[in-house]
């Protein structure tokens, strides 16, 4: 309690109902220009297809809309307000120049079907970003088409399957460590593979003996996150790659934690065959409350023929264009070329950093995580003492003795002015506190966070109720999620 006012304090929070509750017949926030062509008889043109009524759509004025959404916005926490230490989410600063350049007219208003010779600028952005990302990952070819990380996983596994098929047998299984993100097994399921769990060893890494025993001609690939979700670099990564390759299996890397590696080590160099990136994590595109993301997939040469189509190529006359004639391609995974607006932002980020900035970024991300680890070690249980990189995972073992769980500590952190860390993940750590500060935090912010965490640990000892009842400072207290799921109310209805 003693440090509580250091980062945050209470302020007035405006109440605001649902937009439908402000609606009044005849109010409007729109005005169309006069029609410069003859009016039409809609009944005649559309017949029975004409719609007569738009139900309960709202009618409000412009100032009401501004206030509505501005008030709503103030109920959100955001990176712009402070540290957002969600593990494996890489909530870093979203540079504003990215937003400016992505809104330039020729880029924001380019139509995906316009002739290639008048979209050379857009194509060049795709090409240069592709080159930068293949260099950063040490891979040999890339597609930017997938719309998010999980979509990248789907694309990557489709390519694995097509590759294995081309060798005569698509195989049956994907090996996935027990520390993996839930999208990994969900993706394997979508591509028609069964999932085999791979146990971690006592140090929190892949058990290579178990891996050897489980890898056979039925295994299409291993999906590995490196550093893994404990923040631990898989030191035996090359051996892992060798075990897979010896049986004709591929090594898939989930690039969620690429922020620990950029400019320091390249997955392509340590034996990875296919991987996805999250531009909305490592490359600073804003998370926007849950998207849009972008999930490029980088591959080694032998997987290149299977990339989704189209791919950008340089034509004989030196201009850029799309190549559609790719008979071995897995096909399209999305209409058009992917989340182009995210490509613009990611490239702007790379240009703002350059090689030195990218390396310093990675170093600072790892430095910050280790500083936090050092700062709260002792106050919280560290289940795996192995050195960690950009994130660290503690457990609530010490606090659980007082009946306080990771979610309670997380909720109390809100009162201290921070967004919670990731709770209860990875699954191999019961009661996990998964913390990733990213490079965007100053020493002062980190010190405040460490103070807050230590202070909460003290509160657990002295007055656990204050933690169990947290948060105390938000406009709503803990919400009844069980009731929400039992009797779902998924839309507003007029009274």
């Amino acid at each position: 309690m003693k440090y509580m006012t250091r980062k945050a304090t209470r302020h007035v929070s405006q109440n605001e109902g649902l937009i439908f509750e402000k609606s009044g017949a005849g109010k409007a926030a729109w005005k169309l220009p006069p029609l410069d062509v003859p009016e039409v008889d809609t009944a005649k043109l559309l017949g029975p297809a004409e719609r007569k009524d738009l139900g309960n759509m709202p009618e409000v004025s412009e100032i009401e809309i501004i206030r509505h959404f501005t008030r709503l916005s103030t109920w959100n926490y955001a990176i712009d307000l402070g540290m957002y230490p969600l593990g494996s989410c890489t909530m870093k600063y979203n540079p504003r120049v990215n937003e400016v350049v992505s809104r330039l007219d020729g880029l924001a208003n380019g139509h995906p079907c316009q002739p290639e010779d008048i979209c050379q600028g857009a194509l060049r952005i795709i090409k240069i970003l592709s080159e930068c990302l293949t260099e950063i990952t040490g891979m040999e070819a890339i597609t930017l088409q997938p719309a998010a990380g999980a979509h990248g996983e789907l694309t990557g596994l489709l390519m694995v399957r097509a590759y294995q098929q081309s060798k005569g047998n698509p195989r049956k299984k994907i090996l996935i460590p027990d520390s993996a993100h839930g999208t990994n097994p969900a993706t394997a399921g979508m591509v028609g593979y069964s999932v085999e769990n791979l146990k971690s060893n006592a140090r929190g890494m892949v058990d290579t003996a178990a891996l050897t025993a489980q890898t056979n001609e039925d295994v299409a690939a291993l999906m590995l996150t490196n550093p893994n979700t404990l923040g631990i670099f898989e030191q035996e990564i090359h051996k892992i790659a060798e075990i897979m390759h010896a049986k004709g299996s591929l090594l898939y890397m989930d690039g969620a934690n690429m922020n620990a590696l950029v400019g320091k080590v390249r997955p392509g160099d340590f034996g990875v065959d296919v991987m996805h990136l999250n531009l909305h994590k490592t490359f600073s595109t804003p998370h926007g409350g849950g998207g849009p993301g972008s999930g490029p997939v980088a591959v080694k040469q032998m997987l290149e023929p299977f990339l989704p189509k189209p791919v950008v190529i340089t034509k004989p006359d030196g201009t850029l264009g799309f190549e559609y004639d790719r008979p071995m391609s897995v096909g399209r995974v999305r209409a058009f070329y992917g989340n182009f607006g995210m490509f613009v932002r990611a490239l702007a980020y790379i240009l703002a950093n350059g090689p030195d900035g990218l390396r310093q970024t990675t170093e600072d991300a790892v430095l910050n995580a280790n500083y936090i680890r050092k700062g709260i070690e002792g106050a919280y249980d560290l289940p795996y003492p192995t050195p960690t990189m950009h994130e660290v995972v503690f457990s609530d073992r010490l606090q659980a003795k007082k009946g306080v769980k990771t979610m309670d500590i997380a909720k109390r952190l809100i009162d201290y002015g921070f967004h919670p860390y990731t709770t209860a993940f990875p699954l191999i750590v019961p009661g996990a506190l998964m913390i990733e500060p990213t490079e965007s935090e100053s020493k002062e912010e980190l010190d405040l966070f460490i103070e807050a965490m230590r202070s909460i640990a003290e509160e657990v000892e002295e007055d656990p109720k204050i933690v169990l009842d947290a948060p105390h400072s938000t406009r709503v207290s803990r919400l009844d999620e069980v009731a929400a799921a039992r009797k779902p109310v998924l839309r507003w209805k007029p009274a």
Partner: protein, 463 residues
């Protein structure tokens, strides 16, 4: 590096606290032989002004300032300025997925309003928080129908967006789901007789788009009857959301897979856009993607949370309804603000202007060339068949700063020299008249050339 908030002194002090001699100590777990001992080969660090200049050049190379008749799943509608003012607020822009509801009520309430408005507009009972785009929404909707019916195959109308069909085929391929297509009639709508022949006992769903790729509004009720008669579901894709202001929604559908780009999202060279799936309440447990639900807090105050998470990957893992995690939240917010601005009356008026511009353009083109499927009710797209190759016509239009309709030769070779034209409220009568004038000129000269050919043939025969 200007994004990094640390002085060299801070770094040194922090290393000292940790007990590390240098930063390299923190990377010691990476085997030495893989460490990168050189600079990455990426462009050098640039100043902000240089970055803006560089992208401005790329923007200038990307066809700024044209009058545009392209639609085909991506539509130019006016974007009210307050959309960008509001979504640029850091509290929306830089927030994560709202897993911590106490400090995410802004995002959660706005998604709840989004779900409500999508339900109102589509006539469905539930809508999710968004999907990547219309094409993946269509693919996920088809897979949802497969789970709900326990059947394996899908029949897709050939008048569904060709790229949407490709995406569905990719998703279906490795699952061993047979995909067949059904053609369209002279009126541009799905051919019911062919559909009857295509549906089998194993058909999970029929996928149609309305208004379809060729601009025609499908007779959804009739298609639904055929699908339901055979125990299959009807999935309807809507690519042009503004049509919902004046076109009756496909209420007979079981699942609607929508692309909401038209609602305030810039064309942006193909994305990011905003897909969404809407359906009936009874199917909600098979719905992929995030859902926001209303509940109360400990004091009985109304609040919103992500709900029914047992459908999702982070709980269900390999048994999840989909692997989708990050979706399109900020784009859904754009859509939400757009729907709020236009609302009940504005959406209808907006749609009416689209209808009027299109009716005028189709009529004008029809005087000089052939407008195919002329009798079908349509919204804002139509197919014009010319004597000359539409690519050649388009390159002349480009000289007048006009992007003509999308040539259909590669997609629908049977339609000959045809192109898909689109008008919205942004299309001016002047642009329409100029484009029509150039097409008329093309028709005249092609006809004159043909007549000259015929004359010379006759003369040759006479000799």
């Amino acid at each position: 590096m200007r994004y990094l908030p640390k002085s060299p002194g801070d770094r040194e002090a922090m290393l000292k606290t940790i007990g590390a001699r240098s930063i390299d100590d923190l990377f010691a777990s990476i085997p030495a032989e893989y460490r990168l001992n050189r600079d990455l080969n990426v462009p050098r660090q640039m100043a902000e002004s240089e970055i803006v200049d560089w992208f401005r050049q790329r923007s200038n190379e990307s066809g700024d300032g044209h009058a545009i008749f392209l639609g085909a799943g991506v539509y130019y509608h006016y974007r009210p300025v307050i959309i960008d003012s509001l979504i640029s607020r850091g509290e929306f822009l830089t927030a994560y997925t709202p897993y911590q509801p106490e400090i995410s009520q802004g995002t959660l309430q706005s998604i709840f309003e989004f779900q409500t408005m999508i339900c109102e507009l589509t006539g469905m009972e539930v809508a999710n928080a968004s999907m990547y785009d219309g094409s993946t929404a269509a693919a996920e909707a088809v897979m949802m129908a497969v789970r709900l019916t326990g059947r394996r195959s899908v029949v897709i109308a050939r008048s569904v967006h060709p790229e949407y069909r490709e995406v569905v085929a990719t998703y279906a391929w490795h699952q061993g789901m047979p995909v067949s297509t059904t053609g369209f009639t002279d009126s541009g709508g799905l051919d019911p007789k062919e559909l009857e022949r295509s549906i089998t006992q194993d058909t999970a769903c029929v996928l149609v788009q309305s208004p379809n790729f060729l601009g025609a509004i499908e007779d959804v009720a009739a298609v639904a009857d055929i699908a339901h008669k055979h125990g299959a579901m009807l999935v309807v894709s809507i690519a042009e959301a503004v049509s919902l202001g004046i076109v009756e929604p496909p209420r007979q559908a079981d699942i609607i897979a929508m692309e909401a780009q038209s609602f305030g999202v810039p064309p942006g060279f193909g994305g990011p856009y905003c897909g969404v799936i809407a359906t009936r309440e009874q199917f909600v447990r098979q719905l992929p993607g995030r859902l926001v639900g209303q509940t109360t807090d400990k004091n009985g105050k109304r609040g919103f949370v992500l709900t029914l998470a047992t459908r999702e990957q982070h709980i269900r893992r390999e048994k999840a309804t989909s692997n989708i995690c990050t979706n399109q939240a900020l784009i859904a917010l754009m859509v939400n603000i757009f729907m709020t601005i236009y609302g009940k009356a504005g959406l209808r008026e907006l749609a009416k202007q689209n209808l009027a511009k299109t009716a005028y353009a189709a009529e004008q083109f029809g005087i000089h060339a052939t407008v195919l499927f002329a009798n079908a009710p349509r919204f804002n797209e139509f197919v014009v068949q010319t004597s000359e190759d539409p690519y050649a016509i388009n390159s002349r239009l480009l000289g007048h700063k006009i992007l003509g309709g999308l040539p259909l030769k590669k997609l629908y070779p049977e339609l000959g020299n045809a192109a898909l034209w689109c008008c919205t409220e942004m299309t001016t009568r002047t642009a329409i008249d100029t484009a029509v004038g150039l097409v008329a000129e093309s028709e005249r000269s092609t006809r004159a050339m043909k007549e000259a050919d015929v004359r010379s043939d006759i003369e040759e025969v006479a000799r």
